[in-house]
Symmetry: C2
């Protein structure tokens, strides 16, 4: 397939076309100056040609020169993933640990060739999809003597669509919008919309156990994977395409979440949906967070399986959806290609009202077959727009330190978990950032046995000291989550960032098992070392 | 916990109390004599005390003598799982490869002690739950020099119930009915009812990826596992209790389906349900099998997620549910603890009628909250009773060779798959058994991307030559399924029986990975060798 039409921005999350204008950056600076009572101005954007890179430490052999390069701009733009601390470094022109070469294999033969080259030379090989990793999953490890970023952007074809079984075979490098565009004429959709959707790839979703559109039932990409094909230095591992199986431990479940440490996913069969035409949506206000989360539990345990079941705490409901700052907002959405959803939304609303939820009957929006979206107006629409526009980069370099962390926890521990996390975070934010920090929470996904809370925080950073401040806050967030029994990540992946938490959370023997598996698949330890396990 | 109140039958699938009476055996003999035109009589049931066993090849040290025994009856009753060829050998008094000792650890300390003893001595260790394996999962390998069967019957407590999250912590040896009895007072249920339910255990279900009650959506025990605790020679591996996670490959998914080769599961947290009170059921007749299976596809792809969505082919619908022998029968059942199911069953019936299904409106049974079962009358009830009474042992030794094989396949390949399997099976049955053999199919579970077909066959065996005949037929069944793209097992597990098919189906490198994992967890290769992989 042709190269991507859009070029990735090196200092914002997204494409060059997503970069904010000078006016937008100035407006952000004015807003933050007012909020924090200090003058900040947008820093200049460096010219990529002028940034200094360490000379490439490897030579590309002639036989690979058609798709492997040591080009300056290529190496610079493959230095970082999408985390704010990375984008800040990039904005400041700091590219101190770039890959030594970047590969763009156009065929599986070329993929084999570049991986074999890395393996023979002992070069670190970093699988690279959309580079939207917010957990330091695509960086060159400090200890690496030489590293090659293997960008799958050319392995991005739709290979087969099986309309009968509703499944499709995709190359790993295909981007979300390209996949959906290919399915639309058939009335099909994958309906997996992580926040990174416009810029991230099928291979990245599978490698990182990406969380998607569905807030309940089938939440992770895991549930949509029918089979996988992965190249490791030891060879290809391709699983059989099956709707279900009970034959031994699932090989796909080893590939899913392997984060580039066991092999490079080259293609997958994914389960598809018919495009929904029946929809129903309601935004329900609760007098407080606790009542709202109890309502969520009631709805999810009734197993109505809404596509959307997301609650915003009073801070988020106030900021994103215009509520009063004390009320929580629960957004419930059902969708189906075949079945009217009026009965389901009314059942869910009844359960929510039993728990103190308030919504007028006329604000329960039902579309019985027209295919019209029902969640674009009112508080629900306001929240949707805030979600989509997030992370656009307008505040980069303006001293606003912000991040999110996400987890999952069983319901029995949830109230105490939330109180503990908020307490520890409030303290560390005050300690590190002083006055003016903010903390909020929503649920992105919900299970009958527990929610997946997503915390956001921000506050005024010391300009130039952001990285140290961020690390202190992150360490506390990780400790707060893991100490209280949560997972260090529900859908952002482990990468290098979450290693301290994951090392505490996963059984020690499981790390040993992963090392043994890696020893067989990647005996020289070239694949993404430092992610998940030490080489 | 106390020992089980019921003793396992050594020649039928179930307890001694499930054994058929002499009258039942004589009636079976008369029926089969008539069917096959030859006189057969029930063989005598041997006295277990009289059967000859190879002397135990190991001595039990005094410190283990409180729970490890070389008792004759114990060794004999732990020789076999539940497959018909095993029960036939037992009925004929053939116990040529018994375990040398049987352990009944009463605590995790005793479990550790017996496993350490096996590891130090190089004795094969065979985890033993309810011994309902129909795939030779609990046998002593021929090559073993000494083997210990580790029966978890005393590790069978309910350890915790979390009513808020709806989850429970169970020891691995608990039986299905005991688990449900403990949950009933709280209004909870696991609702996992494999056909082995009365006699099988939580640990066995998890180790073998057991398929349960739900025909759609969450079909395998896999989906109900919240965490696991497993002992291997290298130590304990306990996972964190989480409703969902995206942190690395799932450790539980390595334990699930490991079939006793990586460790002995000692306990699990499982997700529970509220007991259903709303129910709706319909039995829908189709003019032929093809039309019926297309209707199943329409219903499952509409994602209504019925608890029951099982179709019987005309042979099974005739034999088990009294239909005319040309019509297929589709049984659709919905259930919920919270939500009336009338709308769902009407939607599903409408889709079925669109595909030629026939059911009178008054035969759509709906119970809106009374908790009464709706599937106990008419054709649906007749099928249910036939299903529950299966395998009771009354035909053992009477020259009726019968078995089942089950798989899963994507919808696009299903019609050709079914035709091919039927063709190959019809031929091999005629070749091996001559006239009078029967073959039929139903779906036990269904996915949006494909069904899980379950084939049954039977016919007149040569008395005394059953094992060879069975093997010839089984080899062809396995080849037919695997050649055509199916899985060698959807929920019966791999064991030693399905190794040839599994070895073809799973990626070679995945077998290498499993061996590497086993090398770390079980370096001396004592755990259930020959299952899944070679030691």
């Amino acid at each position: 397939m042709a190269a991507r039409s859009e070029r990735r921005s090196f200092w914002t999350w997204g494409y060059v076309s997503d970069e904010p204008s000078d006016d937008e950056r100035n407006a952000s600076a004015a807003r933050l100056s007012a909020r924090f009572g200090r003058d900040v101005n947008p820093p200049p954007i460096p010219d990529l040609d002028d940034v200094s890179l360490r000379p490439a430490r490897i030579d590309v052999p002639a036989r690979l020169a058609g798709f492997v390069t040591t080009d300056h701009a290529e190496r610079a733009t493959h230095t970082y993933g999408g985390h704010s601390m990375e984008l800040l470094k990039a904005l400041r022109g700091v590219f101190d640990n770039p890959p030594d070469a970047v590969a763009h294999p156009r065929t599986e033969d070329e993929l084999e060739a570049v991986l074999a080259w890395c393996d023979a030379g002992g070069y670190t090989a970093i699988p690279y999809g959309g580079a939207t990793s917010v957990v330091w999953g695509v960086n060159v490890p400090e200890a690496s003597d030489a590293a090659v970023s293997i960008d799958l952007d050319h392995l991005s074809d739709v290979l087969e669509i099986d309309e009968v079984s509703r499944a499709g075979r995709f190359q790993a490098g295909i981007l979300g919008p390209d996949l959906e565009a290919a399915l639309r004429p058939m009335g099909l959709t994958l309906r997996h919309f992580p926040q990174s959707f416009p810029w991230s790839t099928v291979g990245g979703w599978v490698a990182t156990r990406s969380g998607g559109h569905y807030a309940t039932n089938h939440t992770h990409i895991d549930d949509f994977v029918e089979s996988t094909r992965m190249l490791s230095p030891a060879g290809w591992m391709e699983t059989r395409r099956l709707p279900g199986s009970g034959a031994g431990p699932s090989p796909d479940r080893l590939v899913i979440g392997s984060e580039g440490t066991l092999g490079i996913i080259s293609e997958c069969w994914l389960r598809l949906q018919k495009r929904p035409t029946f929809r129903a949506t309601a935004g329900i206000a609760f007098p407080n967070w606790q009542a709202g989360t109890e309502a969520v539990r009631a709805v999810v345990q009734a197993k109505l399986w809404p596509a959307n079941l997301r609650i915003l705490d009073p801070v988020e409901a106030g900021a994103s959806a215009g509520l009063d700052g004390t009320s929580a907002l629960l957004i419930i959405g059902f969708e189906s290609a075949d079945v009217p959803q009026g009965a389901n939304i009314r059942q869910a609303v009844a359960l929510a009202r039993d728990h103190g939820g308030r919504v007028a009957d006329e604000d329960i929006l039902i579309d019985d077959g027209g295919g019209k979206a029902t969640g674009r107006g009112g508080a629900v629409g306001a929240w949707r727009n805030a979600f989509i526009g997030v992370n656009a980069g307008a505040t980069n370099g303006l001293g606003l330190l912000s991040d999110t962390f996400e987890t999952a926890i069983t319901w029995d521990r949830w109230p105490e978990f939330d109180a503990g996390v908020r307490d520890r975070m409030t303290r560390v934010l005050a300690d590190v950032l002083g006055e003016g920090a903010a903390l909020s929470c929503r649920f992105t996904h919900v299970y009958p046995d527990g929610p997946a809370p997503y915390y956001s925080w921000n506050g005024p950073a010391a300009l130039g000291g952001e990285a140290e401040q961020w690390q202190a806050i992150k360490d506390e967030a990780t400790a707060a989550v893991v100490d209280a029994g949560g997972t260090v990540t529900h859908h952002h992946a482990v990468g290098r960032m979450h290693r301290p938490g994951w090392d505490r959370q996963r059984p020690d023997l499981f790390a040993e098992v992963l090392k043994a598996a890696k020893g067989r698949l990647d005996p020289n330890g070239i694949l993404n070392p430092g992610v998940l396990i030490d080489a």
